[in-house]
């Protein structure tokens, strides 16, 4: 028996040693897209990558450059549409079209970009993008200090001072040094729940309220502005034996709207009191059978809508929905950046 155990241990160790180098690149790449605030802020992340570097990144992701047919590439720090285009031979317009990038300058580190050499771009399609803008971040990097004492070089002082002055005088541009996704939410908190930017970046689930005075350290940021996905996730974490399941959306025609106190739920969710949120929802169910009931969470601006759907009533609907969900999964991944990009344009305009 002891010998068997030793053999097993040896086999596990050997597997780890042999598989380690194979696994390492993916881990490194994932870290590259997130990392500590210091690593994210590092100047090398904000210098445009050369096409050769992009090719190397793609090789690290085991991407076959000769067969780019809907291939998924995780955008790395320093990537630009221009360098990705040069590395793959796919035109910038095609990249934008396939990934629904319009009217924005930004791609995001950690997002998935669909690489597809096949197909054409419709005539007249002209994305309004700056292909040389480096990949941005969805999460504000260490937005802790209210003021950072930096002495700008003389030749950029004028632009810099205007930028800082605007931050002080214009509410919308107070997020000059905040991630566009967070800035957009803090200025308008508009609907973007289904886009769930957090799907594409492991760190993006921590949306940061970008009033820089609010937080004392980047790691201590609170998710003051929640998406429906955050609330679903929070509810799932406390659901336990409640027999309820949770999803984003409105549940379709078969789901009934629940009479809940939207403001109270949002307030509790922001504080992380998901037990209270769950309690509020359970109260709203009015003693209905919880078994097989799915709660749908939909966020519309500052309003939260909660729907309930029982499995018996909507089983046929659900099965159809599952099918469509799975087929749309990849689309969502690729489109989420684009849908966020459209918000970012607004933010950029505001900042300007």
């Amino acid at each position: 028996m002891k010998i068997n155990n030793k053999k097993r241990l040896a086999a596990v160790l050997m597997t780890a040693v042999l598989a380690g180098p194979v696994m390492a690149p993916s881990v490194v790449l994932a870290d590259n897209a997130t990392g500590s605030p210091a690593e994210q802020a590092d100047i090398t992340n904000w210098i445009a990558n050369t096409p050769q570097q992009v090719s190397n990144n793609m090789a690290m992701q085991h991407i076959d450059m000769n067969n780019l047919n809907g291939t998924r590439y995780i955008i790395q720090w320093g990537d630009t549409l221009s360098s990705i285009s040069a590395a793959t031979g796919i035109s910038i317009a095609k990249l934008c079209y396939d990934n629904n990038i319009q009217n924005a300058n930004l791609i995001y580190a950690g997002d998935v970009l669909i690489l597809n050499r096949n197909g054409d771009v419709p005539a007249g399609y002209k994305p309004n993008v700056n292909p040389n803008a480096v990949a941005q971040t969805r999460v504000t990097i260490n937005n802790g200090p209210k003021t950072v004492n930096i002495y700008a070089p003389k030749s950029v002082k004028k632009i810099y001072n205007e930028q800082v002055d605007n931050s002080k005088t214009d509410d919308h541009s107070s997020n000059t040094f905040a991630a566009p996704a967070a800035a957009k939410e803090s200025s308008a908190d508009t609907n973007s729940d289904s886009q769930s930017s957090q799907e594409s970046s492991s760190s993006a689930s921590v949306q940061t309220k970008t009033k820089s005075a609010a937080a004392s350290h980047g790691h201590k940021r609170h998710s003051a502005l929640l998406s429906a996905a955050d609330i679903v996730s929070g509810l799932e974490s406390v659901a336990g034996d409640s027999k309820l399941s949770f999803e984003e959306g409105n549940g379709g025609d078969d789901a009934d709207s629940l009479d809940v106190d939207s403001a109270a739920i949002l307030k509790a969710a922001k504080k992380g009191n998901y037990d209270d949120v769950l309690s509020e929802i359970e109260d709203a169910l009015n003693g209905k059978d919880k078994d097989g009931t799915t709660i749908y969470i939909e966020k519309d601006g500052n309003e939260l809508h909660v729907y309930a759907s029982h499995q018996d009533e909507s089983s046929s609907k659900d099965s159809n929905k599952d099918d469509s969900d799975s087929s749309q999964q990849s689309d969502d991944d690729s489109n989420n950046q684009a849908t966020n990009d459209s918000q970012d344009t607004d933010t950029t305009d505001d900042d300007d």
Partner: protein, 154 residues
């Protein structure tokens, strides 16, 4: 006071003066060190490198991941301008080296991002900084107490 004690005190004072003088020099030498030289910067994670060619005069700097480009920019004033303007669509880089700080700025789409390396010590071919502050447009701002090193390669 014994002669031996006096000697010890004198030696200690001499060491303090030498070290203090060296520190004073190194902490104010960055402005004279960087113009006209190419530096290799290693990222905090250690897996990325950037090359910086500082103009011989003025505050322009070529910042690129390509060592060849950085070295080419250091060839002559006209080569510098050629590379600098060629890279301008990816953002214009400027710098200010003053006292014990080195600030690099990137301007793109009329927005400025800044990285300031604090408590800089410049000696020989190395520039060492014990922390850096940053304000990155559409990304974040803060101070990180991570040491960074620039090494002169030409």
């Amino acid at each position: 006071m014994q002669k031996k004690t006096k000697v010890i005190i004198a030696v200690v004072v001499a060491i303090v003066v030498v070290l203090g003088g060296f520190y004073l020099y190194a902490s104010h030498a960055v402005a004279s060190h960087v113009p006209g030289h190419v530096y290799e910067y290693t990222s905090i994670s250690g897996n990325q490198k950037a090359y910086m060619t500082f103009a011989k005069s003025g505050d322009e700097v070529v910042v690129t991941p390509s060592k060849d480009k950085a070295l080419k920019a250091n060839g002559s004033d006209s080569a510098f301008q050629s590379v600098y303007q060629g890279e301008a669509d990816q953002g214009k880089w400027n710098y200010e080296a003053k006292g014990s700080r080195l600030t690099l700025s990137k301007t793109q789409d009329n927005k400025v991002s800044l990285w300031q390396y604090n408590h800089v010590l410049a000696f020989g071919k190395k520039i060492h900084s014990s922390s850096f502050s940053y304000q990155i447009a559409n990304a974040g701002q803060g101070v990180d107490r991570k040491a960074t090193t620039f090494e002169q390669i030409r």
